[in-house]
Subunit: 148 residues, 2 copies
Amino acid sequence: MPVDLQRFFPYRIARLADAVSRATAQVYAERFDLSRDEWRVLAALAELGEVRTSALMEHSTLDKMQVSRAVTRLAGAGLVLRSPDPADGRGYLQRLTPAGRAMHRRIVPMVRAREAFLLDALSPDQRAALDAALDAVHERARVLLGDG
Amino acid sequence: MPVDLQRFFPYRIARLADAVSRATAQVYAERFDLSRDEWRVLAALAELGEVRTSALMEHSTLDKMQVSRAVTRLAGAGLVLRSPDPADGRGYLQRLTPAGRAMHRRIVPMVRAREAFLLDALSPDQRAALDAALDAVHERARVLLGDG
DNA sequence: TATTGTTATACTCTATAACTATA
DNA sequence: TATAGTTATAGAGTATAACAATA
């Protein structure tokens, strides 16, 4: 018996994530010329303040190369400042510049508005249920992938 | 005020889809050496029988180039057979070979088992709610993207 | 000897458009 | 003149490993 692709969960979630991702990227990519990775690093730094690369990796689900490249490009654009980590000579601390914070402040209301538009399709109850379901399924996926 | 990236919906859904996608790809990619696009075309042909390229495009959410390449590779591997469309000399009809059907029959129980494992984290009610919520949010995303 | 982070390289994907053949 | 599908090509993203510096 064939798989009904249209109802197959991995297919549906992939298509949804793609649509949501493109809808969000319209803001940070088209209007602010940031890649997805750069946007994630920008958002992570806005939350975390001044942190080491390893903290950025964890917080953005990016690997060290992706973080390295994103930070290099953001630094080149004057949005991020990096300095040697006094506690570990191999590493760096990175933080937003005033320009980086300013850009973040401009992007946030726009992406939040899009997020709100997406989720306003749901009642508060539905929203809480979706929240819990996504977490539960993600947990299962981690088991299948063997990482926690 | 910063975005809490960990709770930001587009980020969460992207991470979940990535995890689910990798968990599913472990089956069709590692064990059967298919790309995601090839798997989608295989699944679509198993459902649809003998169809034109345009039907594959719609059913798999792939564009004509992606379908063209996937079909070419599947045909080279003896899994798909293509023949000229008698009703339209520009197009082709493609269908699975016995080998293609056999591979599909082997893959389906495995990916279904993974899907079931993911969704068994939810009660039937939760599952129905998730279903409806994903459709509703997807509909909103389509509005943002301006395609329906 | 292990870890942090960069650089190099190769590979896969994606996006665009040019092109052939047919409608 | 428009459409179905292929081919070409360039750009972006991804994955692996080699590497330098420090722990």
